[in-house]
Symmetry: C2
Subunit: 411 residues, 2 copies
């Protein structure tokens, strides 16, 4: 069903791959202008989605994510402008040298080609993803959540008009308007047309894609993040970070799901945190040792590997930093991990030995984010080791090409 879209996308990718930055930037400017000029229509289309969401009894939290008001539209416009103002990654020479035989080899960044993105119901992701793809010279094929289909379809139409105004093929931005699940499968099998797939979403989606995809994936997987409060922690700082990492926003991937505390400071720290978490109505699920110190539910084995995305926290008392690191490497999802300590050796040990995308000393795990890292926006946070790891910006939407200049060299 999507064959035609895929073929046109691939064709457009050869055009987009070779245009200069100013063409891509003028398309981005046109997108920002169109969002500004069509606020009312955007909100009207969004209302259709919201009406349907209320009819089908979507939760308040999901309806909130789905809603496009003027403030959210401001945010979308700003994101496009931020992405436009970034340095174009395409063409950057990352390596270069002359070989003994005179071959002059350069290694340069080039677009990936066609990027397929499967994402959840937030319609602002549609704009972020398409804008990041455009900036990096990639054609985007976007498949958003079915709850946002009216909003996404209209935003897609605006973007198609914008790229056409900049002289680019409309097929540079593609929205899959049909919400049939089978179309996800069609994307995953479109080897030769789609160069990479970025699935963002829950465990079930990621596993489905991993099992069925014939196309290389960059996974935006779950976040089972830890804060470890070391024996040598500044207690005030530890409490402040532990509260922030859990309570500032519970439904996102960089939120702490398990707190680890060294036994030497466990009593002091946990008694203070019991009170603080109580004020936020956080349900605590502790190990045996924790249960001796504060009142909490008993943690089961599966708690250590659960992403709650809720006001729930598992807590474990450990007898050493080694035990903390071992626990994290066993149960964590290699997303964001933090140690609170004033001890230099322990801080370095944690930074070196924890196997994760982002490892912190004395800071909240909540900072892991493309915007906070200075990338303007992110297309996802990679929890895999291949291609890129952590927040993924325009720079990570490139591959490399060896350009080799000879004078007739034969082997």
């Amino acid at each position: 069903m999507l064959e035609n879209m895929f073929r046109e996308a691939k064709k457009a990718s050869y055009v987009l791959m070779n245009v200069n930055t100013d063409v891509k930037d003028s398309a981005l400017s046109a997108i920002a202008e169109k969002l500004e000029a069509n606020r009312v229509k955007i909100k009207n289309e969004n209302l259709k989605d919201l009406d349907y969401a209320r009819e089908t009894g979507l939760s308040d939290a999901l309806i909130d994510r789905l809603t496009l008001d003027d403030k959210r539209i401001d945010g979308m416009i700003q994101a496009v402008k931020d992405i436009r103002s970034q340095v174009d990654p395409v063409g950057k020479v990352v390596d270069g040298y002359k070989r003994p035989n005179g071959l002059y080899i350069t290694k340069v960044k080039v677009p990936l080609g066609v990027v397929g993105i499967i994402f959840e119901s937030r319609p602002n992701v549609t704009i972020d993803a398409a804008a990041l793809c455009l900036k990096s010279g990639n054609v985007a094929i976007l498949r958003g959540g079915k709850e946002a289909v009216h909003s996404n379809t209209y935003l897609g139409r605006l973007m198609k008009e914008a790229v056409a105004e900049a002289g680019l093929p409309k097929a540079c931005v593609n929205i899959i308007e049909d919400t049939d699940r089978g179309l996800v499968m069609e994307m995953l099998k479109a080897k030769g047309s789609i160069d990479i797939m970025i699935p963002r979403g829950g465990k079930a989606l990621i596993e489905f894609c991993t099992e069925h995809s014939l196309i290389p994936l960059v996974k935006h997987d779950d976040g089972i993040c830890h804060v470890y409060i070391d024996k040598f922690a500044d207690i005030e700082m530890a409490v402040s970070i532990a509260v922030n990492a859990k309570c500032q926003r519970v439904g996102v991937c960089n939120t702490m799901e398990t707190l680890l505390v060294h036994e030497a400071v466990a009593e002091t720290v946990l008694k203070r945190l019991e009170k603080a978490y109580g004020e936020h109505n956080v349900e605590l699920r502790g190990c045996e040792h924790t249960a001796e110190l504060i009142s909490c539910k008993k943690a089961a084995e599966e708690d250590w590997s659960t992403e709650y995305l809720d006001y729930i926290l598992s807590v474990k008392v450990v007898s050493s930093i080694d035990e903390a690191i071992e626990h994290i490497n066993k149960y964590g999802s290699m997303h964001s991990e933090s140690i609170v300590t004033e001890n230099y050796t322990n801080s370095e040990m944690f930074l070196n030995m924890v196997d994760a995308a982002a490892v912190y000393v004395n800071a909240s795990t909540r900072w892991t984010d493309g915007g906070e890292f200075g990338m303007g926006a992110e297309i996802g946070i990679s929890t895999q080791k291949l291609h890129c790891r952590g927040p993924m910006g325009a720079d990570d939407l490139t591959t490399t090409k060896y350009r080799i200049y000879g004078q007739g060299q034969i082997k």
Copy 2:
């Protein structure tokens, strides 16, 4: 069946990830010494493979690839020494900056963890792959061709002794000694134990891995490489490159499989090449236009997408550089592509618009090789766009980690 190996490999990876370069280098030195000291035993084990290969009627070409004589053992020792002398990629800071909130962010190269490699029958690959993994701090799980099982098993034993002498766990190097095909499937499903899989081999193996793997792949796929002789080519150079790219070695992935010639020079060039290829007994399969100029078989549609790995060449006359680029982007395998031209605009156009790992002006495609590119050795040539593209050395066996230093920052 391999569960235990996978578990021990993962455990060992946390050790290997954190040792300094001198430990890894001393393990590499020990490997080189053991190869030197055990030449006779290596050749004896290899003889068992060769006897079996002759019994089962393996082709002379395959028997040649399988054979370990003193010259080949010299080559293996030299490769280990070359890899040892390379700069350790681990720990390289690739980016770093301070955010407005005072967070100090660095992005550093770290090992991937456990690398699974499936490869063909050449036993020297066993040494190259394990040495590259060691240098880059990765545990290797190697599954070679069944024809080389005695050689590989013995080489694995030597490498295990060598890493142990350097104080590393023996599980840093693992050889799958059983040649049961089902074990390949077990590797592909070992999510959580193996971090990346590198399949090297024929189309069938790559497709099998793509379909079944739950682990990210770096594919060492086929090579359908082209040389395009432009209207503005230096004819002498064009003939020399076209002969070299086809005839210097036919069974490898960077060999030319299709020759494209601009119609303006087709008659001159093809008449000279007809003679040169005749001397090498190259069978020519031409398009209609080609068949009018020289004597050749008629090319069928599937010829344009066939990797012959043999003394066969398909030939097409094109009416413009655009047609050549379009043909390459349609039928090529994004491996190595070359233009022969003296025209500046055409050379840049080809370099920019051809979508391949390595794009050449005025040189043979045969140069695409880790050794020739100065990497010491290669673990494969990636024909995909994710993670790395082209020859893959120790540097490409790393991922990155954000190390973030805070002073109590909360969001």
